[in-house]
């Protein structure tokens, strides 16, 4: 098709066909390349949601920095919180480049967060009242996040893939940190074990929700099909949830914890886990910003954004003074 024409001479349909050819040949799309609006919008939705989730995701753990039980634990959880903010920086950068042609930037992302137009992962709307919660978050929430991020490493959008590669490298530290916290409590006193079990009970439904609904039936809509067509992702929500069960349920039982769902069982014949669905209406409520901690966390994010405005402004003046 391009043999006798240069790319710029192609019609819009030819450009679209050429784009889909590239997707099907597993080429990576770069920020300045031609892409259909559909693809751009899907990427912006996915990546700004992912990026802001990293930043909001640091908040429940950040609460434990001053209260960590030892200096070593304090340093480690601080490092993790810092990493999560760093992941947010990488991802927002990728989103910004995609939004630029639409005349939008990071300020739009932040204001969409404050007005609840931009959603973030359900798990980060939840409270983390004990050190057991910090352990379950680092072990299982990060474990779940690692699964969905690893699945997207091969995404068709080059800059997102490169960001995910950096992120996944750091996540392997988070997973170890989480295992270490969980094992310490599981090896501990009865009260420590109970604290861990209580935290698992609190987080179980949120963990199942994290992967998203099985299909449209549960919540009315899903972007999974489009994301698979454009090779942004390779697995469905349910495939990831099943992998999560396979990886973690045996470990949960091994350390003497109980999965807070009596119906959970592996069916050899169909090779699938059966489980009690979480309440998908509750999920919708939570991600719309009506979760137990939604308002607190958004308010915290907003006030810190406003309180540091003078820093951004001052730095702007440094530049004008130098030039």
């Amino acid at each position: 098709m391009l043999d006798h024409l240069t790319f710029d001479q192609l019609s819009e349909e030819q450009k679209y066909d050429h784009f889909m050819d590239r997707i099907n040949r597993d080429e990576k799309i770069e920020a300045d390349d031609w892409m259909p609006d559909d693809y751009r919008i899907a990427l912006i939705r996915l990546i700004s949601m992912h990026g802001i989730s990293e930043i909001m995701g640091a908040l429940p753990e950040k609460e434990w920095v001053p209260k960590a039980p030892t200096l070593h634990r304090k340093l480690a959880i601080m490092a993790k919180v810092q990493d999560e903010m760093g992941h947010g920086q990488l991802l927002l950068r990728v989103a910004e480049d995609l939004m630029k042609p639409l005349g939008k930037n990071r300020d739009n992302i932040m204001s969409d967060l404050f007005t609840k137009r931009l959603k973030f992962h359900n798990v980060f709307h939840m409270a983390s009242p004990t050190w057991g919660d910090a352990a379950i978050i680092a072990w299982l929430v990060d474990g779940a996040a690692i699964m969905s991020q690893t699945m997207m490493l091969d995404t068709s959008y080059g800059p997102y893939g490169r960001a995910l590669k950096r992120i996944c490298q750091e996540e392997s530290f988070h997973a170890k940190h989480g295992e270490s916290l969980v094992l310490s409590l599981a090896e501990g006193t009865d009260r420590q074990k109970q604290m861990l079990q209580d935290a698992l009970n609190r987080w179980w439904d949120a963990l199942l929700m994290f992967f998203g609904p099985k299909s449209k039936q549960e919540t009315g809509h899903t972007n999974v099909d489009k994301n698979i067509k454009y090779k942004l992702r390779t697995k469905t929500n349910e495939q990831l949830r099943q992998e999560f069960f396979t990886k973690y349920i045996p470990k949960i039982e091994l350390i003497g914890l109980k999965v807070p769902d009596k119906t959970v069982r592996f069916d050899e014949e169909s090779n699938t886990w059966h489980y009690q669905d979480p309440d998908w209406n509750e999920f919708k409520q939570i991600v719309s910003g009506n979760g137990p901690k939604s308002d607190d966390r958004i308010r915290l994010r907003q006030s810190s954004y406003e309180n540091t405005e003078w820093v951004r402004e001052a730095l702007g003046h440094v530049k004008t003074a130098v030039v």
Binding site: T6, W34, A79, L90, R166, G316
Partner: protein
């Protein structure tokens, strides 16, 4: 501040970050970041990309100082067949030598047959 709110971050410019892992290694592209000036770009590059990773040198470059290829230019690169510059562009030679060798061998066989 109004400018910043609806414009494209007038004082936050885009920088591309490169680094070297070893003294004698190649400079590698890392990622991009937003910063108000070069000094802050270096600070943020360390903060964003080198919390663990080793680096012996870090470069930051304003994105608008970089001339990249357009998509047309990138597409035209794909079309270029440069096999003639490489040994693998000449993979047919062995077979062609073998053909001559076979012809020669057959030729002597024929003569032998004639003589006999």
């Amino acid at each position: 501040m109004d400018e910043q709110k609806n414009g494209l971050n007038p004082f936050y410019e885009e920088f591309e970050v490169f680094s070297k892992k070893k003294e004698d290694g190649p400079l590698q592209y890392q990622f991009s970041l937003l910063a108000p000036n070069e000094e802050m770009a270096i600070v943020l590059a360390k903060e964003n990309f080198f919390r663990r990773e080793k680096a012996v040198d870090i470069w930051v470059v304003r994105r608008n100082a970089i001339r990249k290829l357009s998509q047309s230019e990138k597409e035209s690169l794909k079309k270029l067949d440069k096999h003639y510059r490489e040994t693998k562009g000449y993979a047919d030679l062995n077979q062609r030598w073998r053909n001559f060798k076979e012809k020669q061998d057959n030729g002597t066989d024929e003569k032998k047959v004639e003589k006999a």
